[in-house]
Amino acid sequence: MLFMANKKDRVIELKNAVIRFAGDSGDGMQLTGSLFSDSTAIVGNDFATFPDYPAEIRAPQGTISGVSGFQIHFGEKDIHTSGDLADVLVAMNPASLKANMHWITEEAIIIVDTDSFIEKNFKKAGYESNPLTDETLLGHLVIEAPITTLTKEAVKDMQLDSKSAQKSKNMFALGMVFYMFNRGYEGTFKFFEEKFKSKPLVVEANKKVLLAGFNFANTIEAFANTFKVEPAALKKGLYRNVTGNLATSWGFLAAAERSGRNLFLGSYPITPASEILQEISYHKQFEAIAFQAEDEIAGIVSAIGASFTGSLAITSTSGPGLSLKSEAIGLAVMTELPIVIVDVQRGGPSTGLPTKSEQSDLMQALYGRNGEAPVIVIAALSSADCFYAAYEASKLTLEHMTPVILLTDGFLANGSEVFLIPKVSSLPEIKAPIVKANDPDYKPYKRDEKKLSRSWALPGTEGLRHRLGGLEKEDVTGNVSQDPLNHEKMVKLRQEKVNKVAEYIPELSIQGNAKSDLLVVGWGGTYGVILTAIEELREEGFNISFVQFKHIMPLPKNTEKVFSAFKKIVVCENNMGQFVNYLKMSFPQHEYLQYNKIQGLPFKVSELKDHFISILNK
């Protein structure tokens, strides 16, 4: 569909395009993809990316399970997803072709390295015959290039062994795609010069190979035309590309700076959350401590210790780690200490699908603890939104003295998108309720009248010595209490404190009319894909509306009002229906339809559109 645009000389202008780079885990596809992203930024397109790599570090070479991919979606309008299906596939070997045939459009252009299309690789990939010569690729424009041979040829005059020479074959492919999309390569050259500063030979080799690919594409005239995507009309400002995990880490650093608290992250490595721990480890210059604990439990408990002393305390994990942290979250609920628990959701249960994404930890986040243990739950909407979600989670936990669970997911965490860089001073102020020394009115469980939060007395402060702990405490004094009526009062107070947060979070905003034929509801990381489906349907003339929930506990104040204007509500999520059940519990007066996908994969815009149209036609 994309390539049916108007032909203008030999350059076809596209509104947007999706490219997928695929190869063996060791072929450098992630780097190729990120270099293409950088050049996309220079051109001024909006874009979103997603890496698709196996759970194994280096699965057997040439097999399907060893295929590593990187997808980029770029356009002249706002881009909210990394794209359903690719318009261009770069396949460095038969396995990467086979693994990605489901992820390309019917008329996609395919670039292959013919050098790797040999008998033994067909077998490894599970092809019975050569897919380039049988009917496998009917309907596709296939660009056959002996990439390995040409790469070696390009550097034959240099003193490189053949292994090192072959390593840069990904740059040959990149050069071809640069030509195809009328891109300049100066920025990429600059990258080589910086990255391989101490290895001038490698810089030279990469430049030569990239140029060779570029010129090869130009010379062979295999492309009937090339393509161009006009710059996007983004807001003025300074931009960069961020992954969700990077944005999450930076959101916390910004919140620590703005609140005047030191950041303390107690964590344990787990896919797909480890990058948060890694990133914070680099920021000791901001007095941020990243403590890699001996396990998930020590990760959160050390953070609770740091919170007691006055740090902005964070722990980061994924589903299995959230399970291990449950008891400690209860301790933070009971001691009413601030802490943010980041759960980068992945496919479960148990070890599940570590590198794939799901939204199936929602019930665990809301209720997965012993006793009545309410916490604030918020869910980031996109990779760039992870920055604001982490910042808001920090603000809420510090100002309301209540643990916050921040849900992101594997797609947001590893995916990237364009991020308008804010000034930290422009972010909302964060004021933690820290008690002054010798405050005569201080009582450990005395509460703020509006928020119901207790105040924060830090060890080392004169005149405020007190004891906290997991045993139930007496209202106001904080002494240990087993009194039945006091317990009931405290349970209700802890819930009421969380409910009050509704006064401090934004209301739901509807995309589309406040009243229409169908309200589509999503939450968290599905925002971009649902929004794209809705925008397209509205352009096609459908009367359809959309709300995406970022705040889950408590729900925005106007939720009921928004819902009551609609006869049909459909809730879309990547699980069996955890959010829809929560909505049924909260607002049982409405009927809810649901659309669920539990494949470790995000929704496709096309499947959402089809589903919404079928509801509208009923």
Binding site: L234, Y239, R240, V301, S302, A328, P459, R465
Partner: protein, 343 residues
């Protein structure tokens, strides 16, 4: 006293640390004497009273923070070491005391225990070892001797116990001491030594559970047998014990042996001199392992070796990075790497 941060003379007394809460341990429990000893020690350390933090896990002993008028936090079962590490790392100027038991730190918290020892933050760990689960009413613990008959081991346990000292030294521990709950003077002296040591100090307290494991340490603590079964170690002094001070420890080959001074040509010069400061832990392990009836139990400071603390190493790096990093603010950070301007 190299970990004392405030050297101005403080006129604190025991009273400053007594809480107004009713102490709810069983009458006759060893915990009472330990509490008294800690209240003796705190006012003497020259540390402002608001700089103490008492941390615990779960178990009878872990109620301790509620009975001290300091900052305190009663955690969850087994995790006190992680709490203490977070507190000390986030605010190194605090004097952190961790109260734990043999169930809390040798079983459910065994992992955290060995890791806190390995990392060596400057915290003081008082390990109440009564060799039984008291709060849950009498099940065997990881330190119960093999064959112990308890509610969950009616035929006796089938498993070998941990010796905390061996575990500490095996985890590269730098300070290990042992005391008995029957001797407040000894506890006061050794807790003070532990406080002065910069790094993780573990004091194992041989403690009696009057209800569920009465007299478990009787061979070591009872009036009739204690002189023959206690060896109180002092740096630079020979390892002599016994009512008549006529017994000692010698190293024979690779083993320790009890000898009688004056018999078989043994004189005082032959007796081992205690060196807690030796980096080599060989003798320290052997001393930790000694138990009656073959040997006296070694008490006092068994090992005390200087080493950089975890928080010092971390904060040294923080100071270095603050001085040398090009990034002075999060605004700087957000603008690193590839950025582009949209006009």
């Amino acid at each position: 006293m190299d970990n004392i941060i405030d050297t101005k003379k403080l006129t604190l007394t025991k009273k400053d640390f007594e809480s107004d809460q009713m102490v709810k341990w069983c009458p006759g429990c060893g915990d009472h004497a330990i509490l008294k000893s800690v209240e003796n020690v705190f006012p003497e350390l020259g540390i402002p009273k608001e700089d103490f933090v008492v941390v615990s896990g779960i178990g009878c002993s872990s109620r301790f923070p509620y009975y001290m008028n300091t900052y305190g936090i009663h955690g969850i079962h087994g995790r006190a070491a992680a709490l203490a590490t977070g507190i000390k790392l986030a605010n190194p100027k605090l004097s952190v005391w961790m109260i734990t038991g043999d169930g809390d730190s040798m079983a459910i918290g065994g992992n955290h225990f060995i890791h806190v020892v390995r990392r060596n933050p400057d915290i003081n760990i008082l390990l109440f070892n009564n060799k039984i689960y008291g709060l849950t009413k009498g099940q065997f613990s990881p330190t119960s001797p093999k064959g112990s008959k308890t509610k969950t081991s009616p035929q006796g346990t089938f498993e070998a116990p941990f010796n905390p000292g061996e575990l500490v030294i095996g985890a590269h521990g730098k300070f290990f001491a042992r005391v008995v709950d029957t001797n407040i003077k000894m506890m006061t002296q050794v807790f003070t030594e532990a406080a002065k040591h910069k790094g993780t100090s573990i004091v194992e307290i041989l403690e009696n559970c009057v209800i569920f494991n009465n007299k478990i340490h009787a061979l070591i603590t009872s009036r009739e047998t204690k002189d023959e079964n206690q060896l109180f170690l002092e740096a630079g002094k020979p390892m002599i014990f016994g009512k008549e001070k006529d017994k000692g420890i010698v190293l024979r080959g690779t083993h320790l042996e009890v000898v009688k001074i004056g018999e078989n040509g043994i004189s005082e010069e032959d007796i081992l001199i205690h060196d807690p400061y030796s980096a080599d832990s060989g003798i320290h392990v052997m001393l930790s392992s000694m138990m009656p009836p073959e040997f006296p139990a070694a008490l006092g400071v068994i090992r005390s070796v200087k080493s950089e603390t975890f928080e010092d190493a971390v904060w040294k790096t923080i100071e270095y990075e603050k001085k040398n990093s090009k990034l002075k603010s999060v605004d700087d950070l957000l603008r690193t790497g590839n950025t582009w301007i949209k006009e």
